[in-house]
């Protein structure tokens, strides 16, 4: 059976509950994704800083 | 520690740990009474906060007494291993050449005795003041005796785990409370049945089953946690 877009959005009167469930899913998953990618980026930046400070320490000892 | 020279069996080593713990507990009797005092104070809060009407009190009494007992025995666990860590006793236990789980089990058992017995004895006082009928008191006391055992053994895992971390006053409760919620459910339910004059056997058997599980498994986790802390 085919439903109109308006019917689909109305969800038989349950629209607030259905759409806020799916909306909450989107928000939490986007936050999850941002958190994971942010953690990866931050970890890489930390590692790069470790390498750089290690390199400058070595340079300091040699000179 | 004279046990290091002549080989001792695990039971006698555990008995020594148990005896030492009891002696220390009796010496610090004021500290020992703190959980019971806290328990009696918490149960006094409810009539003040709600209303002293006997029928209402009788309905909420099982829950109030059990929540009070749960919180006060949890609070007593905070320092379970702290003093032993500071004075090196904990390290001696690890190096004693005995199964560490057996020794910590003896220690936790002693703590159960020191904290559980006063609570069980104080419970009738608190329950009667909440108009619990005298016929329900034996079930309440038996339930608390079993339930505090589970709380103390599971809580000891939390106490050992938080030993090496930064000191946070509520961290231990955060870890242990979700794990001991079944104790509260079974214990309060059994007491409630007894207050209503029904058979409370179901809840008590479940508490006993949980106690057996906790006494056999928790010392292994405590021993692992103590080793991690001292590594």
């Amino acid at each position: 059976m085919e439903r109109s877009v308006a019917d689909f959005l109305a969800m038989g009167g349950y629209a607030p509950y259905v759409w806020s469930s799916y909306g909450a899913w989107c928000v939490v998953m986007l936050a999850n994704l941002a958190g994971a990618l942010g953690a990866l980026k931050a970890a890489k930046a930390r590692a790069r800083r470790r390498f750089e400070s290690a390199a400058s320490d070595d340079g300091g000892e040699r000179s | 520690m004279s046990g290091a020279r002549d080989p001792v069996s695990l039971p006698s080593a555990a008995a020594r740990v148990f005896g030492r713990e009891c002696r220390l507990g009796v010496r610090r009797v004021g500290e020992l009474l703190q959980p019971v005092t806290f328990f009696l104070m918490v149960t006094t809060l409810f009539p003040l906060a709600l209303s002293p009407e006997p029928s209402l009190m009788r309905n909420i009494a099982p829950g109030v007494v059990w929540v009070g007992a749960l919180l006060s025995s949890l609070l007593s666990l905070e320092g379970l291993f702290r003093a032993d860590l500071d004075d090196g006793t904990l390290e001696q236990l690890v190096l004693a050449g005995q199964p560490l789980a057996g020794l910590v089990a003896a220690k936790v058992l002693a703590h159960w005795l020191l904290v559980g017995v006063p609570l069980v004895l104080a419970a009738p006082l608190a329950a009667s003041s909440l108009s619990v009928p005298a016929a329900a008191l034996p079930v309440l006391m038996l339930g608390l005796a079993l339930g505090t055992g589970v709380i103390v053994f599971v809580g000891a895992v939390g106490a050992a785990l938080t030993l090496a971390g930064r000191r946070g006053s509520v961290l231990l409760s955060l870890l242990v409370l979700p794990l001991v919620m079944p104790v509260l459910i079974f214990g309060a339910r059994a007491t409630d049945e007894a207050v209503r004059g029904d058979s409370a056997a179901g809840g008590l058997w479940l508490l006993l089953a949980m106690l057996i599980l906790a006494v056999t498994l928790a010392p292994l986790a405590v021993a692992a946690a103590v080793r991690i802390c001292l590594e």
Binding site: M11, Y14, V18, S21, A47, F51 | R166, I185
Partner: protein
């Protein structure tokens, strides 16, 4: 012996870093496909439920979230046990990465359960056995994360939280049983009737697809977080140099 080489290679951080990166695009692709079909099928193709009408469509978010909340906890506990027994650093990294993701799915399961409960029960929160268990599970996650945060030393945090995760996973069946027992005595009838044993295919297939899609999504998020954990744990290992772009 050869069958165990894959297991031993899992102990090698560079190897795990590499394969998690290789899996990621495929996981992302299939996550999108399965969740896409699951949600489309659930929201559009499936007919309204004869009792719950369109409100039942929340199940396509709620049930997979609840499933993931448990799968993630078991993942944490199994990884923690492997880490403790074989002293495998990568396993501890898996446990550390899975916990926050699992907590977020637990939160979602609670939230969507509540959003479903409002039209069905007329209240945002009911002490229903499933919702209560899910709430206690969230407490377990929060305790685990709090314990992890209480240590400055990473190795200790790994081992202590591993013990807690194992104790927790032993307790979960007991907690669940006690909550069901408590609930049956107090309320009896308000069991969450979201899933029925005999669901027509048009409702069931999107649900299964959604379950699979969420699982893959968890795996994908886990891979990303795991890579971050591995970089942090490897400190200045030389294999990291080209990856982080250091000279």
């Amino acid at each position: 012996m050869a069958t165990w080489t894959w297991f031993h290679r899992l102990a090698s951080p560079p190897h795990v870093y590499r394969i998690s990166g290789a899996f990621l695009p495929w996981l992302a692709l299939f996550t999108a496909l399965f969740i896409g079909y699951g949600f489309y099928g659930g929201l559009v193709l499936a007919p309204p439920d004869y009792q719950q009408k369109d409100a039942f469509r929340i199940i396509y978010v709620h049930a997979p979230s609840a499933w993931l909340s448990m799968l993630a906890y078991v993942t944490v506990a199994v990884a923690a046990a492997v880490g403790l027994i074989w002293r495998m650093k990568v396993a501890h990294a898996v446990a550390a990465s899975a916990a926050p993701i699992g907590a977020s799915f637990t939160f979602l399961a609670l939230l969507t359960g509540s959003l479903w409960g409002k039209p069905m029960w007329g209240t945002w929160w009911t002490w229903d056995a499933r919702l209560t268990s899910e709430l206690i599970l969230l407490f377990l996650y929060l305790g685990y994360l709090a314990l992890r945060g209480a240590f400055d030393d990473r190795a200790r945090a790994d081992q202590a939280s591993a013990v807690l995760a194992i104790v927790g996973v032993v307790n979960i069946p007991i907690i669940h049983f006690s909550v069901v027992w408590w609930n049956s005595l107090h309320q009896g009838s308000t069991v969450m009737k979201l899933a029925r044993p005999s669901m027509p295919g048009s409702m069931l297939w999107p649900l299964l697809s959604s379950l699979l899609g969420f699982t893959l999504l968890f795996a994908a998020l886990l891979c990303v977080r795991l890579r971050a954990e591995i970089i942090d744990r490897e400190r200045t290992a030389s294999w990291l140099r080209p990856i982080v772009g250091a000279a």
